[in-house]
C-alpha cells in the first residue's frame, strides 16, 4: 500500500515540477519579447508604456540570467506570490484566485461526486433490465457527446431566459450580501443549480455507459457463472459484479477529472458564475498573462490533489493494492 502511494506521490511531484517549468517557460519561449507583446496588447501610450516596460522587466526579473529567473519563479511560488493582475488593477493574482476558487469548488465537487454515484447506480441497473437499457443508453450517449458549453447555453436559454425559473449571472442576487440568512442561501442555490446541472448531466452520461458495460462484462465472467451454478441468489452475484466494476470506474474518475474541470470553466462563463472560468475569460480578454499563468498552476495543483484523493480511495476499496500485491 505504501509503495503504491509512494510511486504515485513521486509521479505527482514530478508532474508538478513539469507544470511549473511549463508555466515558467511558455512566456519566455514564445516568439518576440514577452514584455513588448504585453505592452502592445495593453495598448498603453508611450510614457505609460515606458514605465510599464521597467515594471514588467523587474516583475519578470528578465535582466537576470535564466537559471536565476527560474529559481526566483519557484521562490515566488513558495511565498504564494503569483504576480499582480492586469485585468483587475490593484489586486494580486493569488487574491483573485482565492476569491474565485470557492465558487468553482462549490460547482465541481457536488457535480463530480453526485454524477459518479448516480451514473454508476443507473448504469448498473441498465445492465440487467432490457427496457431501461434501451432508454438509458441512447440518452447517456447523447449526454456524453454534448459539449458542456452548449448544454449550458440550452439550459440557460430555456430555464432562465424563456421560462424564468432560474436566475443567471453572478453567484447570488446583487441585492444580497453573503451571510447565513435564509434569503441569501436561497438566492445562492438558485444561481448555483443550472451550472451544477450542466456539469452533472454531461458527466452522468459517461459514468452510466461505463458502468453498464463493466457490469455486463463482469456478469459474463467465470466467477459470476460459477456463483450462479452454485445457486447463489442473483442479488449476491450482482453485488460482487458491482464491487469489481467499481475499480475501473475509479481509475476512470482520475482520468475524467481534467475534462470535468474544463467543462466547469466554460459553464461558468455561460452563466456568468464568478469562479475560475470567469477569471480565465477576463484574463484572456485583458491579456492578463500573470493571471492566466496563476490559474494554470491552480488547475494543475487542483487536479493533482484530486488524483491523489482518488488514489487513496482506490487503496481503501481495492484489497489487492492494500495488500501490496499489485505494484502499479
Amino acid at each position: 500500500m505504501n509503495r503504491y502511494l509512494l510511486r504515485k506521490s513521486v509521479l505527482y511531484l514530478l508532474t508538478f515540477f513539469v507544470a511549473v517549468t511549463i508555466d515558467f517557460a511558455i512566456p519566455r519561449l514564445m516568439p518576440g519579447n514577452p514584455i513588448d507583446g504585453l505592452i502592445s496588447r495593453i495598448r498603453a501610450d508611450s510614457t505609460a508604456s515606458q514605465e510599464l516596460h521597467g515594471y514588467f522587466t523587474e516583475s519578470f526579473g528578465l535582466d537576470q540570467p535564466l537559471w536565476e529567473q527560474y529559481l526566483n519563479f519557484w521562490r515566488g511560488l513558495a511565498h504564494g506570490d503569483l504576480g499582480p493582475s492586469i485585468a483587475y488593477v490593484g489586486s494580486s493574482v493569488s487574491e483573485l484566485i482565492w476569491a474565485a476558487l470557492p465558487y468553482t469548488l462549490a460547482l465541481l465537487v457536488p457535480a463530480i461526486l453526485l454524477s459518479y454515484i448516480a451514473g454508476n447506480r443507473v448504469g448498473a441497473l441498465a445492465a440487467r433490465r432490457k427496457v431501461l437499457d434501451n432508454t438509458v443508453l441512447p440518452v447517456a450517449y447523447v449526454l456524453t457527446a454534448t459539449p458542456y458549453v452548449w448544454l449550458a447555453l440550452v439550459l440557460a436559454y430555456v430555464l432562465a431566459f424563456q421560462l424564468g425559473i432560474f436566475p443567471v449571472s453572478g453567484a447570488y442576487d446583487f441585492s444580497q450580501q453573503p451571510a447565513w440568512t435564509w434569503e441569501f442561501v436561497r438566492s445562492f442555490l438558485a444561481h448555483w443549480f443550472l451550472p451544477f446541472l450542466t456539469l452533472f448531466l454531461v458527466a452522468f452520461g459517461g459514468w452510466a455507459i461505463g458502468m453498464r458495460n463493466l457490469i455486463i462484462y463482469e456478469l459474463e465472467s467465470e466467477y459470476a457463472n460459477y456463483l450462479q451454478a452454485l445457486g447463489a441468489p442473483s442479488k449476491l452475484v450482482r453485488k460482487y459484479a458491482y464491487g469489481n466494476a467499481v475499480l475501473p470506474q475509479m481509475s476512470g474518475l482520475a482520468l475524467a477529472l481534467g475534462a470535468v474541470v474544463g467543462g466547469a470553466l466554460v459553464t461558468e462563463i455561460v452563466f456568468g458564475y464568478p469562479g475560475i472560468g470567469t477569471l480565465i475569460i477576463d484574463a484572456l480578454q485583458n491579456r492578463d498573462y500573470f493571471l492566466l499563468q496563476g490559474v494554470f498552476l491552480l488547475i494543475i495543483v487542483g487536479v493533482l490533489i484530486a488524483n491523489f484523493i482518488v488514489d487513496i480511495a482506490y487503496v481503501i476499496v481495492d484489497p489487492r493494492t492494500r495488500a501490496g500485491i499489485q505494484g502499479s
Binding site: 509521479l11 454534448t146 459539449p147 481534467g258 474541470v261 474544463g262 488524483n307
Partner: protein, 294 residues
C-alpha cells in the same frame, strides 16, 4: 487489416464477408455511421448550396429561419446556415488532423515502449503518465493564449500534441501482450529489425484496436476544439461551431431569444461526436466476436 488478410490466404475472403455481414447487421454501427456520414456530406456539399459566406454581413439582422436564410441570421446580419456548414467543415478537419497527430504520437510511444520494454519503456511510461495527469485544456488555454492560433492546422496540431497519452498507454498495453506471442518471437529470431516487426507483425494484429482508438481521438478532438473556439482561442478567421457559440453569447443571443444562432452548432457537435462514439461501440462488437451476442 487489409495487409494482414491478403497475406493469410485461405480464409480471408469469407472472413471479410463475414465481418461485413456483422457490420451491416449491427444497429449501433449503422446508426452511428449514418449520422456521421450525413453530417460529413452536409459539411462537404452544404457550402455550395448557398451564395452566402460565413462572415459576410448584409443579411437581415436577427431574423428567424426563412426561405431566404434557411437557419436564420445573426444579430449583426450574417447567414447562420453558411456559418453552420463551414463550421462543420472545420470540425471534421480539426478532428481528423488532431486525431492523426495524437494517434501517430500514441502509436510511436506505445509501440516503442511496449515492444522494447526496459529503461526506454520506463521513461516513456513516466512521460505518458505525467502528460496524462496534466489537464489538457489548461495547457491548451495557456499555449494558445500566447501563440494566438491562426489556422485550423495549428489548432489541430496543438490538440493532437496534448491528447495522445491515453492512446499511448492503451497501445503500449496491447503491444506488451502481443510481444510474447510466438509469431512475434519468430519474426524477431529470423532477424527482422524492430521497425519491421512492429509494422508488419504487431500493428496489423491490433489494427481494429488502432482504428477504434482513432475514432475516440477524433470525437474527443472535436469536443476540445469546440471548447477552445468558444473561449476565442481558435483561429478567428475561420468559421467554426465553437466560434458561432462564442459570438452568439457575446452578442446576447440568449437575451434576445435568437435560438437559431446557438442551437445548430451544438446539435452539429453532439451529433458528430455521439455518432462517432456509438459507431465505436458497434465496431467493437463487429471486430470482437465475444461481444456480438449482446
Amino acid at each position: 487489416m487489409d495487409a494482414a488478410e491478403s497475406r493469410a490466404d485461405p480464409g480471408p475472403r469469407g472472413q471479410r464477408f463475414e465481418l461485413l455481414h456483422f457490420a451491416f447487421h449491427n444497429s449501433k454501427l449503422v446508426i452511428g455511421l449514418t449520422v456521421v456520414l450525413a453530417f460529413l456530406l452536409l459539411a462537404i456539399v452544404g457550402p455550395w448550396l448557398t451564395d452566402a459566406t460565413p462572415f459576410e454581413f448584409g443579411h437581415p439582422t436577427g431574423q428567424g429561419p426563412s426561405s431566404e436564410n434557411w437557419l436564420g441570421t445573426t444579430a449583426p446580419g450574417q447567414d447562420v446556415y453558411a456559418q453552420f456548414v463551414h463550421g462543420l467543415r472545420s470540425s471534421f478537419i480539426v478532428g481528423a488532423l488532431a486525431a492523426c497527430v495524437a494517434a501517430g504520437l500514441g502509436m510511436a510511444i506505445g509501440f516503442i515502449g511496449g515492444y522494447l520494454g526496459g529503461a526506454i519503456d520506463e521513461i516513456l511510461s513516466m512521460v505518458t503518465n505525467i502528460v496524462l495527469v496534466i489537464p489538457t485544456l489548461a495547457v491548451l488555454i495557456i499555449v494558445s493564449a500566447y501563440l494566438s492560433v491562426g489556422s485550423l492546422t495549428s489548432e489541430a496540431i496543438l490538440i493532437g500534441l496534448t491528447s495522445w497519452p491515453w492512446a499511448a498507454r492503451a497501445i503500449r498495453a496491447q503491444t506488451f501482450s502481443l510481444r510474447a506471442r510466438e509469431f512475434v518471437s519468430l519474426a524477431r529470431l529470423s532477424g527482422q529489425g524492430t521497425t519491421k516487426v512492429i509494422v508488419q507483425e504487431i500493428a496489423p494484429n491490433m489494427s481494429s484496436y488502432l482504428f477504434l482508438t482513432f475514432i475516440l481521438l477524433f470525437g474527443g478532438s472535436v469536443l476540445t476544439a469546440a471548447t477552445l473556439d468558444f473561449l476565442g482561442l481558435g483561429p478567428s478567421q475561420v468559421m467554426s461551431l465553437g466560434l458561432m457559440m462564442n459570438t452568439a453569447v457575446s452578442n446576447a443571443a440568449l437575451q434576445l431569444g435568437l435560438w437559431w444562432w446557438f442551437i445548430p452548432p451544438g446539435i452539429g457537435i453532439t451529433a458528430i461526436v455521439g455518432g462517432l462514439y456509438v459507431m465505436n461501440v458497434g465496431l467493437d462488437e463487429v471486430f470482437n466476436p465475444r461481444l456480438r451476442s449482446t
